[in-house]
Symmetry: C2
Subunit: 341 residues, 2 copies
DNA sequence: AAGTTAATTCAAAGCGCTTTGGATGACTAA
DNA sequence: TTAGTCATCCAAAGCGCTTTGAATTAACTT
């Protein structure tokens, strides 16, 4: 069923039918209702391609997900982020188009989306500290919003980020308050901006309190359960082991916890863990009492906000870039305790 | 840059340029090269919408991801599945369009995709034992492939599934061989087909060996870490505790493990766990020696296969539905051992 | 030299929609 | 009456591509 058929059935012109359905004023209320009824009845929905072609807007947002060829690693927060964003898109009648791309193919993917006109804007995932994509997207004139920020970028752009630095500053303070001094920091890859900022927060807190931080206790890697386990295992078995772990993700923290248990120690009593919790739907942090003490911020909500920001930008291209800095909550759970005497 | 401009620059007709770029034979090799060079130089890529409108094919595959409103739960395997499928789409020049939908809105989403012509086919995720979507999609004539199967459906359709029944049969046998008799079964939601089949496999194995299974040890829920923990905790603290756990997902198994550790027992020695491992990229099952004994099958690979199947179906609408039943490997890890005397 | 055939190229229609620039008729105002 | 104003509706152009059917040229036959 297409416009032509529908308008023939109704004995009206395509113009009128189109206008009736799109809520234009130059059509009588009577015919509008008649048209709507008919559209409903015949299950008519305007063809997206045709509409896009006519309007010049594609009503779709692109997400490019890089899969590192090395590890074939897909970011575990991805599902929840997408679900937050997707809900917003649906509400505004937008589609979400995903492109999976190997490592450095992202710019090509953006350029392709742009020149093929398949999206009206894109979301930039996992910005690095120096992020070439930002300049690139501006250059090719494709609207975008970033989930996170790029420390090395001083131009203005749309972003939604959590206050990683402050969150990890607070988390570190929390451990320091409990008397911990040897704190291991299990971070993500530090060319990623979020990890860089978390590191800054950690160092800042340590320095402010006059506690020397030990570079030998600072790690940076892709945040798997395994990485947490292996690292913690090595440290805890070694000499001068840390008394606390500051960890960048729940999954990783589960690994650290496993190492602690494997060594017949008890988390919270023998060793403390504080982690960042993205509030992933399939990984709730305990039921009533949180398992892990954590800095907490919903990545799903971030998804919604990024989407809103981008859609607002698209709706008004002259709008100034928007920024939202979300504070993480510090939730006390069972994984932290005072340092052992 | 569009076709018209490009052809003006080249001093050729749009027809010829279009044909040159699309590899039609009725254009001389000389001009073809000339055209390709120019297209490259001016960064020309055909507008997707226009092309789709002209060809009637949208070159996009739809994925509808349901988010249960109750738990806002996004399936953790989603990211990896998508990444597998996405790679195949890219290779074939297809886009992937995602729609996030609340619970029962899936059919509406499919219908919309169909009538708006935004996709050439869809992937059905998480089929239930009786799955209305299959009939529905056939009815509206939208090509599809299912990740999994629907036991209650006896029509023929494209699917890619793992042999859940056999995998769990084998896993159960493995535990029985180690002397376990009281085996707790921590399953997913059993209206989901995969969970139903796993249950069948479990019961079948127990029955074949003449071991009575205790319904009080069989659980069905959304597979979070928490669910594993709570369930195991209750069972292990209760009377007549199970000596082994058969678990439907790694994440869940991590919870079971946590409960075991919390009770100062040792996994593999005091209590055994065998789980299914979807080989999620961010959740590798140990480095050299697997943490968990598991039935193992890559969901990423399943994603690729489903995508291939669907694309083949679209390329040849008369093709008979294809099926692929993947066997899971049984990998022995550190989480299982003989029952304690 | 005239007639065929093959190799290239092109003009124009059409995909399904939105939107511009009128028409048409009813109604009001002068 | 005549002109002007609304309120409705419509024909047709255009979005950027593919594809049909035809034209043009070159090459080959007889």
């Amino acid at each position: 069923m297409n416009l032509k058929e529908l308008s023939t059935i109704l004995g009206l012109s395509q113009t009128t039918v189109s206008r009736a359905l799109n809520g234009y004023p130059e059509v009588s209320e009577e015919t509008r209702i008649k048209v709507q009824k008919a559209a409903e009845k015949h299950n008519y929905r305007p063809n997206t391609k045709a509409r896009s072609l006519a309007t010049g807007r594609s009503m779709a947002i692109g997400h490019v997900i890089p899969v590192s060829t090395k590890h074939e690693m897909v970011n575990p927060i991805f599902g929840d982020f997408i679900s937050g964003a997707g809900e917003v898109y649906s509400k505004h009648g937008y589609d979400m188009v995903l492109t999976v791309v190997e490592d450095k193919g992202e710019e090509a993917a953006y350029r392709q989306m742009q020149s093929r006109g398949s999206v009206d804007g894109v979301v930039v995932h996992g910005p690095l500290t120096t992020e070439p994509r930002i300049d690139f997207l501006r250059k090719i004139g494709l609207p975008f919003a970033v989930h996170g920020r790029a420390s090395g970028e001083n131009s203005d752009y749309n972003w939604v980020d959590i206050n990683n630095r402050r969150a990890f500053h607070r988390a570190t303070d929390f451990l320091l308050d409990l008397g911990h001094r040897r704190i291991a920091f299990i971070n993500g890859l530090e060319y990623m901006d979020f990890a860089y900022r978390r590191r800054e927060g950690f160092i800042e807190a340590m320095t402010e309190r006059g506690v020397a931080y030990d570079p030998a206790l600072m790690f940076s890697n892709e945040m798997t359960e395994d990485y947490g386990y292996e690292t913690a295992m090595t440290l805890l078995r070694g000499e001068n082991a840390p008394t606390a772990f500051l960890v960048s993700s729940m999954i990783c923290a589960l690994g650290v916890r496993r190492a602690i248990e494997d060594l017949n120690m008890k988390m919270g009593r023998d060793v403390s863990i504080i982690t960042h919790d993205d509030v992933l739907s399939y990984m709730p942090n305990g039921k009533d009492l949180p398992i892990f003490t954590s800095t907490r911020s919903s990545v799903r909500q971030a998804g919604s906000l990024v989407a809103e920001t981008l859609l607002a930008q698209i709706a008004d291209p002259l709008r100034k870039p928007q920024h939202q800095l979300l504070e993480a909550e510090l939730m006390v759970g069972q994984s932290t305790g005072p340092v052992k005497a």
